[in-house]
């Protein structure tokens, strides 16, 4: 379509030699085609969603029973499937299967348990959040107060225990629940033999 103006074929009266007048307009269609082709290609190949990470700092030594305050501790035992067994407090010699309860990793399972036990921390966090949303708090003060609320000395300390059959996805789901429920302190350790025995007992007595 590049238009080149050539004088109409009919000869004029005076055949003067004139420089051909070239139009300044060039056809941009092919360039546009190419441009959009490239645009489409890059749009389709670009992925904006970078993977995200959960930060994890495992304990340096293997500890089976971290010395934490008994009353604020919640122990979770992750098994082979989505089921989670849990009990409050640390593992004691007189623990038996009557002390443990069963739930699962779904939204209505573990989350309800942990949220229920950590309610007062959540309430204080909600206060801070409403203040922050109303622009009454600076970002740094907000972060500091959040840390403080999560680190409250009565806040739950969650011990996540895994056995040899636990799947990685369930560990990530449990860690994720800790984030959702604003648990500031949690640790990830191996289940002890007593824990495993307790689960086996529990399964036996609750078979019916």
């Amino acid at each position: 379509m590049a238009e080149v103006n050539t004088g109409g074929g009919g000869g004029g009266k005076h055949q003067k030699k004139r420089a051909k007048k070239l139009s300044t307009r060039i056809d941009m269609t092919p360039m546009v085609d190419l441009g959009f082709l490239l645009l489409t290609f890059f749009m389709l190949t670009t992925t904006f969603s970078q993977p995200k990470v959960i930060e994890l700092t495992p304990p340096i030594k293997d500890i089976t029973n971290p010395t934490k305050v008994d009353t604020t501790t919640l122990t979770l035992l992750l098994g082979k499937s989505d089921t989670v067994f849990y009990y409050n407090g640390l593992l004691r010699a007189n623990h038996d299967s009557n002390n443990i309860l069963q739930t699962d990793l779904s939204d209505n399972g573990l989350r309800k348990v942990v949220l229920g036990q950590n309610q007062f921390v959540l309430n204080s966090i909600k206060d801070i959040q409403t203040q922050h949303n109303a622009n009454k708090l600076s970002d740094t003060a907000y972060a500091r107060l959040l840390d403080k609320a999560e680190g409250n000395k009565n806040a739950r300390f969650v011990i996540i225990k895994t056995d040899s059959t636990t799947k990685y996805i369930n560990v990530v789901r449990a860690l994720d629940e800790m984030n959702i429920c604003n648990i500031g302190k949690y640790s990830l350790i191996d289940a002890s033999d007593d824990d495993l025995k307790m689960i086996a007992d529990y399964k036996l007595t609750h078979k019916k």
Partner: protein, 216 residues
């Protein structure tokens, strides 16, 4: 009745603004796109609500659903050092081409005896080798090659960072990521973490993809 004559519009419109816009977008996408080398191992990462982005300068240990472990590391300048140190331990000679090819390689998971062949191979051969391999051996008692890679990666990554920092250059501290398949056993992930801990790594990043935060 007089006829109303509609002015005849030329069918050709001025495309300049559209072209401008199109090329602006092309330029944007060209500059933001980062081409990733194809991963030799397929890992289905679990979801989480965390919004922390994956950092730069990261050493990644991938674990697939069958429990095979693969190693990868950022840093074209550090990778040759890591390779040289591990290979000298196993007394395998390398040419300079091998080393420069390794610098830009990607994730790999073959035992040490096959690393040289893997570097020389082309993409399709590499894929076949990765498929056939059982990952980097990590037998804690006899043949812990993963520990050698991790240790070399940790030492040289940190050394390079410290050197850059002392020169006042802009450098990012090395980070250590674990990219495990959700179906993998946690026991295995823990073994990998243990190996890293023995090498001196304390903090880990578990790679996940984003899911929406539930309400409340």
């Amino acid at each position: 009745m007089p006829k109303i004559k509609l002015p005849r519009n030329s069918p050709s419109i001025d495309m300049t603004p559209m072209v401008d816009l199109a090329f602006l977008l092309v330029t944007f996408f060209m500059l933001t796109t980062k081409f990733r080398p194809e991963e030799p191992v397929k890992v289905v990462i679990p979801f989480s609500v965390t919004t922390t982005k994956i950092p730069d300068n990261v050493m990644t240990l991938s674990i697939d659903s069958a429990g095979r472990v693969f190693f990868d590391m950022d840093g074209k300048d550090v990778r040759p050092e890591v390779l040289k140190s591990v290979m000298s331990k196993y007394k395998i000679e390398l040419t300079t081409t091998d080393i420069s090819r390794f610098a830009v390689m990607g994730t790999f998971g073959v035992p040490i005896t096959k690393v040289k062949a893997y570097i020389k191979a082309d993409d399709s051969q590499r894929k076949a080798m990765s498929d056939a391999s059982a990952g980097i051996p990590m037998d804690t008692l006899r043949d812990n090659q993963l520990a050698d890679w991790v240790y070399a990666g940790f030492t040289y990554g940190l050394a390079a960072y410290n050197e850059k920092k002392s020169k006042g250059e802009n450098a990012r501290p090395p980070k250590y990521a674990i990219k495990a398949d959700g179906r993998a056993k946690y026991k295995l992930v823990k073994e990998v973490i243990d190996i890293c801990q023995k090498a001196g790594i304390q903090h880990f990043e578990l790679i996940t993809s984003l899911k929406a935060m539930p309400k409340g």
